[in-house]
Symmetry: C3
Subunit: 154 residues, 3 copies
């Protein structure tokens, strides 16, 4: 029997990717008590960024939103690897959205909504989270967006 | 009977604003166990930034400190909304201060002290917190400062 | 009798510095339950940055890695001050690596590996952590790298 979040994900037509194997001395997630900390996830599909460059320059708000959604999908892939079942998530506690941005770009929150919206599409009310969003100088591999997360888990 | 933190706030002549209603799929705070995570709060009064632009360019250190204090007031407004009573705070655990800064600006800690100082003015010793401060490329709406926080609560 | 982490540290020839005294209303660490939050630690030795400027400009990847390792040593000094004994660490939960970077610098993860690697050298498997790394506009005092951390402790 499949739970609510898993069904929501299927209804959205999203198949979670295999989370990238760690390539250094860090890992995709660490659980401590009821909190699950997920490492910063870039907007990668098959190992390549779906958007590179800076918001306010080469990357449009719409492209940034899609990139943030991809980050969120990669976060969910880590959660699935950690818990085996997304329905063990009690609450999305916090997202932090890192937007590679020109110093004149003012709409980081709109971009990060691409990640926030997916959390609510998948988890409903328990997908609503605390959030911080801001513009960074540059992200790994010139990716346009990175997002990390904290979950409360059963 | 009013508790210590509430009295300290009144003594400082600070009236907490109504926290901004969430305008997207995130919320102002999430509690998980004894930890309260507060979303990044901009230096907004009545919905408008008290300082816009970059430290090291349009914004002075003094203006930045005042902006950080406004962020901290907005954080306390979220805590009040979450707990009903600031005296349910056991400890200010961590602040993170995001300063919109020109790449040549070296004094982010001085700016963020505007937020740290208010926490100690309101909570005394239990207001002392772990902290990270750094210069970001740009903040939402060109605000000069953003601060988020984690509290331990009763 | 010295525990594993303390012996590993000695084997690496690392003597932990006295953590810098707080110069403002924040502190080096706060413990809440089983989580220990360590403030952002700059790449300081004897109060001076071992590398200043930006990655992708004045600072090489190798210099950045060494700077990140110094940040990690300063984190361990805070943990030692907090717990008295590094072997009370159950798990390194999360590191966040802040790299002062030119907007064209793509290798922040390589830089932050300098901190991640030390955690695994000292703590072994329990040193593997969740991590986020990104490029910031500027760090306090023009330091090249800052790292903060969350530990699970006994």
């Amino acid at each position: 029997m499949t739970g609510t979040a898993e069904r929501a994900l299927a209804g959205l037509g999203i198949e979670l990717p295999t989370p990238a194997a760690p390539i250094a001395n860090y890992v995709g997630f660490v659980r401590s008590g009821r909190l699950l900390f997920v490492s910063g996830q870039l907007c990668l599909v098959d190992g390549k960024p779906v958007a590179t460059g800076k918001l306010g320059a080469e990357v449009s708000v719409e492209q940034g939103q899609e990139a943030a959604r991809v980050c969120a999908i990669n976060i969910l892939a880590q959660v699935k690897a950690a818990l085996g079942d997304l329905d063990k998530v009690i609450r999305v506690v916090r997202l932090c959205g890192y937007v590679a941005a020109a110093p004149s770009f003012l709409d980081c929150p709109k971009v990060v909504n691409g990640a926030s919206d997916l959390m609510v599409e998948v988890f409903g009310e328990k997908g609503r989270h605390a959030r911080t969003a801001f513009g960074v100088a540059v992200l790994p591999g010139d990716a346009a967006v990175e997002v990390d997360a904290i979950f409360e888990v059963a």
